[in-house]
Subunit: 645 residues, 2 copies
């Protein structure tokens, strides 16, 4: 049903297949009130390109005339919408105006009857001010109803709403309990009050907790989130779908949505929008439009602002730079900035989805950038996997403004330190970077401002060094070197680099087997960089110039199979997939039966059969949980199939 | 010639009157090469609304055909442009391709002859890599030539270019030496290499140094700055004019300008622009356009992106929020972030132009926000002008997430501290805030994220308190209060607040005379806030609810005249202006003969005649240097004229 096309951490561009067509995500579903069509569904489809909308089955059911039409001709004809129609259940109405005179069964059946493509359970809305007990009790009801709805859905899809107020463990529990239920989409509900009160930090906790619990193969819908200001953050956290009633509601109040906030037409001091709705309007001409036309113009503006932001978000996902977009957007309000800072508390979860490397340079945009899992990743790996070559180190500093790779900036000093038997280590914003790792992503591919902030100063403090040097910090006296001519031991240094990168990327045991015996390096004549690693005559690894990491050759993979126990670096596929994979075809999720939990997106993996026999070598596109739950999509991009032995 | 309409610190919306029409600034002048018209000047005027363009007189002069047409019909007819035409002189050509075969006299005369509205001196381009000596020597030539050009300009305006490479003192000297010359616009030259090399920190130093030297009444043109990414920062530093050849040059290379950078069409992964040029183009349809049409489409896109950003900049100036826009924009590249951080080194200069208060809340967007002069202003004033009421203080903390005003958040605790004879002081991101100042701008009107960064943690450290309490930091044990019922001494506290705000706003001496004798307060029945201050029966001050500051009443002003020596808070006007001002008319710059150098925009001022007799009370719109140099525009908005005595 749902398939990932491209990803950037938890963020994903997906395809959600429904009986009424395929929805590309991230997607926003405009809320359509059948009684007031500010913009017609047909226009939403044709002019704006919306492939899905959401409408409220409870409201339809409450209006005899519309109800009858919906039952007779169906929702698609009633609304004149050729795309996907999702319906809400009346949960919110029930919550706001007391018990509704409809049961879960009734409303699910009604949604089926009127031809909704995605119906919603009559769940219980949990308010942020509810106690834990109240919340837990209401979740039980929601879960019962979800089970019931799933059992009676037939060919309608069902949206199972994750509730749990502001209690992360209840959100996660609720989400987790829905894993076994046959539902298709997971709205995260009860979050509108958080957004209205600018409680974005709690919103972050709620989304992350829900994501932890949910099965990754179903789209996640952030219920009621429709302001362009918040979309990029929500997508970064793995939300795929949104809806907006605000585009029309705000328009009726003369409020225009912009990426940096909402503005009342009467308070605005100028109009700087050139969207097709605003066109050549000035503030004056817009204000003077007759009521109905003005509302319609503002609603269309709001929709254009939303679609533009979604389109920008997709671009940043494609570029692997969504964190940077979010870090820009979160400056629009201090509460959003707080939310961004909150992400640092979820580093462990975020790191699971963080790719090994990205295209292009990493831009530092302020201390919030340290929330990115790439920092945690580096520190963890270098602490666990770096093996010092020498007993002592010599420390250098990069406060952000240093040239890269460091060897180019500090060439003479590095050579000297090596000669003296010390390892050059650069105290950088990422943590300590031993000379050998100065070309891997993101060390060499990052840009910082020349003027450091306090968080950066703290990170480059040499007293805070987790590496296992016996004697820490032998800072050489600069200047004493200047006359002397150190001997460049480049060749030895390159072998050390080859080993250190292998350990960082594959772990110590795998690196040891890859680098055993006699090591020969093929080095680029132009750049002096390592290209290939030959171990005892076998070409085991090739190094990529872009991110400084290796691609694993089948000969290298065979050694890991032999010497490093499973499941390290393994993706296991079912027997029927082996012949295809062995011929170099990609591994599809449906055929994955097991996976090393430590594999991250973009990492080199060994594709093996049930007996740990090598079938192929490739790059993971997903992490374990995803490979095992998705039914569609590529799990591993195979580079080399290893023909049957 | 030049007039300020609205301002936000150094940034200004201005009107620059030329013989060919009025140019509203900030403005960008598209560079038009008469040999290649990617977009015609007529289109620039009519479709995009550009009221001025720039073209190169040296190139025109070098092409016999075009030269003859320019001399015969004039530039406006040659280019078919009904707006203002500025010409460049060949400086850049001379710099790039060696000495040009034209003298300063020749090229100035030629510019006059072809009907340029604003001609440019043949100055010497100073490269960033030049030594101080080379730079200084070349500035002498530039200054000589500028003097010569000014003397021969007749009714053409002259642009006098500020040079000086990366040496701030040379930039300032060069700028200062031009104060006495009869030139009309000041381009800051030689900055293109800095921008091309992303040396934005140095660009900041260069602009500030030039602004310090220049007379404030002439528009400042940042030569060669045309990327939308950099415009908001340059406007924030007081640049009024820009030019862009890039819109067309980039287009010929298939490069599209966006607010977050420049993208090559071939590298782009999606097109998310809905500007009138991109319209309904997708990446595919745009790529497939025939060369000429594609170039034209991209050039038009680039122009729309520029005009949109200028329009957004104007909106933020009108809203008094330009710092916030710049802080968003500078996340697009770490080098821009570095530039933003560099501003903290120019706090003293920036503070001179910082208004007393702004409309709306102040948003914190990260540690760079501490570069804003509003922080320096508060710390300076509170250190100099706050007089502790008690010997000891009790410290509270606001790490950003505290409710405001503080009295509401900490009501019981404050009352208790007062009763115990201690002054409650909140250690806030602005520095220590004594209870009495908790409602003034920006203390009560600011929003910070709930999670503090290290810079904020440092600022709220109670050991770093510049206030003059004898015994510093008596931190009460919370909880011991909870049972007891403290006595609310609100009335006394309000009088203390009335006095403390007066000292902060007007200085200690003026506050003492305003608050002498018996003090009565008129307090709002709804909010409990101070409205009017009556001293010995005279209504001397009214307090504004919005920013917590006073408006000064004529009775109060009379006391300051009597008891606080000039020039404190005075703006002196010439005798012929006194009758008008006394009747309540605004003070225009042309009539200002003197001004207290400590007056900041939006501050209460006394308008006096040459004998220090009060003529009116009002709010300053400008600072001293501006009042004395501008020939047009309002210097003081008069609230109460004081009829002749």
């Amino acid at each position: 049903m749902f398939e990932i096309i491209r990803r950037d951490g938890l963020a994903r561009i997906g395809k959600f297949a429904t009986r009424a067509g395929v929805l590309e995500t991230p997607a926003l579903l405009p809320v359509v009130n059948p009684k007031i069509l500010t913009v017609t569904p047909r226009e939403l489809y044709e002019e704006f390109g919306f492939r899905a909308l959401i409408t409220n089955s409870y409201i339809i059911r409450s209006n005899d005339d519309i109800k009858q039409r919906a039952e007779n001709e169906g929702l698609h004809s009633l609304l004149d919408f050729p795309g996907i129609i999702m319906t809400d259940s009346g949960t919110f109405q029930s919550h706001m105006y007391g018990e509704v005179e409809v049961s879960n069964q009734d409303i699910v059946n009604f949604q089926k009857r009127i031809g909704s493509d995605i119906g919603t359970v009559l769940d219980i809305f949990t308010e942020p001010f509810w106690t834990e007990e109240e919340t837990a009790a209401s979740i039980s009801v929601t879960l019962e109803r979800t089970k019931e709805a799933a059992s009676m859905k037939d060919d309608m899809m069902i949206a199972g709403v994750v509730q749990g107020s502001v209690y992360p463990h209840l959100r996660e529990m609720c989400a987790h309990r829905m894993r076994d239920m046959d539902v298709n989409v997971h709205p995260i509900g009860g979050v509108v009050p958080l957004m209205e009160q600018y409680r974005y930090e709690e919103l972050v906790d709620v989304i992350i907790a829900s994501k932890k619990g949910l099965s990754p193969d179903r789209p996640v819908h952030l219920f009621g989130a429709g302001h362009p200001m918040v979309l990029s953050l929500a997508v970064l956290l793995g939300c795929d779908m949104f809806d907006s009633a605000s585009y029309a509601k705000f328009a009726r109040d003369d409020r225009m949505m912009f990426i940096d906030g909402t503005y009342r037409l009467e308070d605005m001091l100028s109009l700087d929008c050139k969207c097709p709705a605003c066109g050549s309007h000035t503030l004056e001409t817009l204000r003077k439009l007759p009521d109905k036309e003005r509302t319609r113009t503002i609603a269309r503006h709001n929709l254009y602002e939303i679609t533009k932001e979604l389109s920008i978000i997709k671009r940043y996902i494609l570029e692997g730079r969504l964190w940077e977009l979010v870090e820009q957007r979160c400056r629009a309000h201090p509460a959003l900035l707080g939310a961004l800072r909150k992400l640092s508390e979820h580093g462990e979860f975020l790191e699971r989805y963080e790719p090994l490397s990205r295209d292009g340079a990493m831009f530092y945009t302020g201390p919030e950038t340290y929330s990115r899992p790439v920092f945690r990743r580096y520190l963890e790996r270098v602490s666990e996997r770096y093996v010092p070559r020498t007993k002592s180190m010599e420390s250098f500093t990069d406060n952000g403004g240093c040239g890269k790779p460091y060897l180019r900036e500090y060439h003479k000093e590095f050579v000297w330190a090596r000669r003296e038997g010390r390892t050059p280590v650069v105290m950088s914003p990422f943590g300590p970077v031993p000379e050998e790792l100065d070309e891997i992503y993101p060390i060499a591919q990052s840009l910082f401002p020349q003027i450091a902030d306090m968080e950066t100063e703290k990170r480059i403090d040499p007293s805070d060094n987790p590496l296992n040097f016996e004697t820490v910090t032998v800072t050489a006296i600069r200047g004493s070197h200047e006359d002397a001519e150190p001997i460049d031991t480049t060749e030895g240094a390159l072998v050390d680099k080859a080993k250190a990168v292998a350990r960082y990327q594959f772990g110590i045991a795998a690196a040891n087997t890859l680098m055993s015996g006699k090591i020969e390096l093929v080095v680029s004549r132009n750049t002096g960089k390592i290209r290939n690693v030959i171990s005892d005559g076998e070409h085991v690894l090739s190094m990529r110039a872009g991110d400084g990491f290796y691609t694993l050759r089948p000969e290298g993979a065979a050694r890991i199979i032999k010497n490093v126990p499973a499941p390290h670096m393994r993706v296991t596929v079912s027997d029927d997939a082996v012949p295809f994979v062995s011929e170099g075809k990609n591994v599809f999720c449906a055929f994955v039966t097991g996976c090393d939990d430590n594999i991250r997106p973009m990492e080199e993996v060994l594709v093996v059969d049930g007996n740990d026999r090598l079938a192929a070598v490739g790059r993971a596109v997903m992490v374990r949980d995803e490979m095992l739950s998705f039914r569609k999509g590529v799990a591993v991009k195979v580079r080399d199939g290893v023909g049957k032995s």
